[in-house]
């Protein structure tokens, strides 16, 4: 492996995806550097979530390859990808509504625990030890870190939107991810909540040594915290590079101006 290849945690190469005649992704290639925050942006329908679902393993690409940490993910089922250290959150929050915040977060660790059915039925030995270790770690590392002590026993269904997003992040962190994929982490949040979330994302990168790949529409946040930006339009990568370079790219401006409001925000004073 070359020096440059070792520096890359996720390598997407020539990925194409089609649903019937609709081409969702066409020859998408980019790579995510270890320890970076990489943002995928693009107008609605550009294929951002399709790209995430392909990386998660829900969709099988028609061609191309995705490599995680130098290992091809082809033929790897989603649960196996979780075990390798690939975690994600969803655009419209996929928490388990009937469970408490604590149980939701505990579920994140599932793939890394070993309690079997028989251990579970008696709750002695390994099952008990593992559960108590998990509880301690979640309390001390995740719940404290994300400032959600006050809601740990609340059912998820009773929480407001902003907190649910934070709980989903907590659950993803419990997965001990090496690459954390966030699908619109601040969509629908107000300014204050957005700033909180941006701070958490930066802290996760620094303190947990996790690489972050996110899809986001909030250009202010994308430009503020990302190291690298990939722009998708109609399923194709039309630009990639540092935030400033991407912002100045004429192809990007054209794509966004064509899409309306976002274009003005991207080229307007707010983004700067």
């Amino acid at each position: 492996m070359t020096e440059a290849a070792r520096d890359v945690i996720l390598d997407v190469e020539g990925v194409s995806l089609a649903f019937g005649g609709v081409r969702a992704l066409t020859d998408v290639s980019f790579s995510v550097r270890r320890g970076s925050i990489t943002a995928v942006i693009g107008p609605n329908g550009a294929g951002k979530t399709s790209l995430f679902n392909t990386i998660s393993g829900f969709y099988r690409p028609r061609s191309g390859n995705i490599a995680f940490d130098g290992r091809s993910l082809a033929g790897t089922a989603p649960p196996e990808r979780a075990r390798l250290g690939l975690a994600r959150t969803f655009q419209n929050i996929a928490l388990f509504r009937g469970m408490t915040v604590l149980d939701n977060i505990k579920l994140g660790r599932h793939a890394h625990m070993r309690t079997g059915l028989l251990d579970a039925l008696v709750y002695r030995g390994r099952a008990r030890r593992e559960e108590l270790e998990l509880r301690a770690e979640i309390e001390e590392r995740i719940i404290d870190f994300l400032e959600i002590q006050h809601i740990r026993n609340a059912p998820v269904a009773t929480l407001p939107y902003g907190l649910r997003k934070r709980v989903e992040l907590a659950r993803a962190l419990a997965m001990r991810p090496r690459l954390l994929m966030l699908d619109e982490p601040v969509a629908g949040m107000n300014r204050e909540e957005t700033e909180d979330m941006a701070r958490f994302i930066l802290d996760v990168k620094e303190e947990w040594d996790v690489t972050i790949l996110m899809v986001e529409h909030d250009m202010g946040m994308v430009m503020d915290i990302s190291d690298h930006v990939v722009v998708l339009n109609f399923g194709q990568v039309i630009a990639e590079g540092g935030p400033a370079a991407v912002q100045a790219d004429p192809a990007v401006v054209a794509a966004y101006l064509g899409a309306g409001d976002l274009g003005r925000r991207l080229s307007g004073p707010e983004a700067a």
Partner: protein, 346 residues
């Protein structure tokens, strides 16, 4: 009023029973269960055993339907597998009853896994129909296989412990109640661990369960296996209790009875399975009691018992679905909360 639950360890916070009152109540219940056979009449002991068998089976169905979200109408058929296995072993092999029960449970678990295989593709109503189909197949097998005695079924000798026959409710009580107790405890433990959480995750949203590293098919089949293991054990206990097993012992209506029990008790709670099964077992007794009261004024009351029973069952299910969808367990929680907050109100 409770002003706080102060705990000093995570173990204390993860315990099954977390308040002192709760522990006290459990101890009292255990003491009552031990003393009960010495004061109760054989008829009440009979009912207690029946309740316990139904609790065991309903708890099993609750694991599959209440916690994992896979609707099954095959619980009674799974029980018949356990019952026949125990009967055949008792008649032909004469092995110890605990071994027979275990074999019955394990064999039923295998059958359950087989029935569960379509569950990766079909859900809800379609899965329910698939389990009905499995019930019909099992019924056919038991009615025609020489080993299971055809339509006459099997009459089996009682369980024996140190040469003593367990053939009266008083003796069977000491077999059935502890086994049921252990089964319920096992189910409660299950949902304190990753395995139980994975079941709930599959019920609530199976796509994101996969992203968290939960292989859907394996856990769905595991849920089927545990649930039918419970059904098999319950069926085995049933066989030792009645000692005659025929193809008509476990009709489809019984599967609906168990489903009704967990709906009335509260799906997805351990307490719900217990309360629901006891409640549904006792409703006919209550009706008999009421019929006895009105007989002096209305002599035909007893003759109407059977149709009235069906109507009452039906209205209970509908009533709970509309007015108390979380079942008796939720009522119990409300009562607890009332006392925790007293003298304040929510």
């Amino acid at each position: 009023m409770r002003i706080g639950t102060l705990k000093t360890s995570y173990a204390a916070d993860e315990a099954l029973f977390d308040t002192r009152l709760q522990k006290l109540l459990i101890l009292l219940a255990c003491a009552a269960a031990v003393l009960f056979p010495f004061v109760a009449s054989p008829y009440w002991l009979f009912l207690a055993c029946l309740c316990a068998i139904n609790v065991a089976s309903a708890t099993g169905l609750n694991i599959l339907t209440g916690y994992t979200g896979l609707v099954s109408l095959g619980q009674a058929a799974f029980m018949s597998v356990g019952a026949y296995t125990v009967a055949v072993l008792e008649i032909h092999a004469g092995t110890p009853f605990l071994l027979n029960l275990l074999v019955g449970g394990l064999l039923t678990a295998l059958v359950g896994i087989g029935v569960g295989i379509p569950s990766l593709r079909v859900k809800g109503l379609y899965l329910a129909i698939a389990t009905i189909a499995a019930s019909v197949v099992l019924h056919f097998v038991f009615a025609h296989w020489p080993l299971t005695g055809g339509m006459q079924g099997l009459s089996m000798p009682p369980a024996r412990l140190f040469g003593m026959a367990l053939d009266q409710p008083f003796q069977l009580y000491w077999l059935i109640l502890p086994v049921t107790g252990l089964m319920v405890l096992g189910a409660a433990n299950l949902f304190r661990t990753r395995v139980g959480r994975a079941f709930i995750a599959i019920r609530d949203r199976d796509i994101s369960a996969e992203v968290l590293g939960i292989p859907l098919l394996r856990y769905k089949l595991m849920s089927f296996a545990v649930s039918s293991f419970y059904a098999g054990l319950a069926g085995g206990l049933w066989a030792y209790f009645f000692r005659v097993v025929t193809p008509e012992s476990f009709p489809l209506v019984n599967s609906i009875f168990y489903l009704a029990a967990i709906i009335v008790g509260g799906m997805g709670t351990i307490l719900g399975g217990i309360l629901g099964a006891v409640f549904m077992t006792m409703v006919p007794e209550l009706l008999k009691f009421v019929a006895g009261l009105v007989t002096p004024f209305y002599p035909d009351a007893l003759a109407l018992l059977a149709p009235v029973r069906t109507i009452v069952f039906g209205s209970l299910i509908v009533g709970f679905l509309i007015f108390e969808p979380h079942g008796l367990a939720e009522i119990w929680r409300r009562i607890r909360r009332f006392f925790h907050l007293w003298p304040f109100r929510t």
